[in-house]
Symmetry: C2
Subunit: 129 residues, 2 copies
Amino acid sequence: MDEELLRTFSAGGPTGHLVDDLAAIVLAILRDSPETREDAARGRQVMVENPRLIALAAERLRQSVESCVVHAEKREGGHFDRRRLDVAIGLVLVCFHIAMERYLDDDVETDLSSLFTASLATARDLLAT
Amino acid sequence: MDEELLRTFSAGGPTGHLVDDLAAIVLAILRDSPETREDAARGRQVMVENPRLIALAAERLRQSVESCVVHAEKREGGHFDRRRLDVAIGLVLVCFHIAMERYLDDDVETDLSSLFTASLATARDLLAT
């Protein structure tokens, strides 16, 4: 995990927009990850064949989210709102999930980061009133 | 499933806003569902204890989503965009999931429909640029 980015996040950056700043953390993790498309496809296949692993992964994800809460509390101070944070994290995770499905299923050359950014842009567009 | 609402959805309503119109379908399903908070809590517990059921539920959800695609195609006509639809459905599902967690975990009297509508409003607010 990029410690400097976490410090930036806690201080309210890099953009000041909660969803975009959570997305920046996901993009940093992707940038530093050595995982290939084949690794990700194999990981998904193993999970489909061993549902127990889905439960374990969900629990690990829950723990990762909890470990981020302290940074969000620091960032928001007295304005901290756990419900709002949960929705922001949910938005980022669902856009990541959609990007990953597309990355593994569609016959495209696009990298996962670009697909994630595109999903988030579509979400923003869809919710624009 | 409310056939009239599905017809309305296919015709581009009730609001003309894809996410809100998908949410209207979820709200109609909730309105007609006899499931109590205790039923939902029991269902979640059974899933946690039997991860195989999580995989089954995910597959059933995938099939339900596929069966909705035809209505979305009718609605959007030549403008139909599967990627956009996937993001819209993902947004609605993640807001529903967050509402359900809150419904089962928080010590509040609020009903699930209100929590779902509130999650969606928070998502819209978070993504407003």
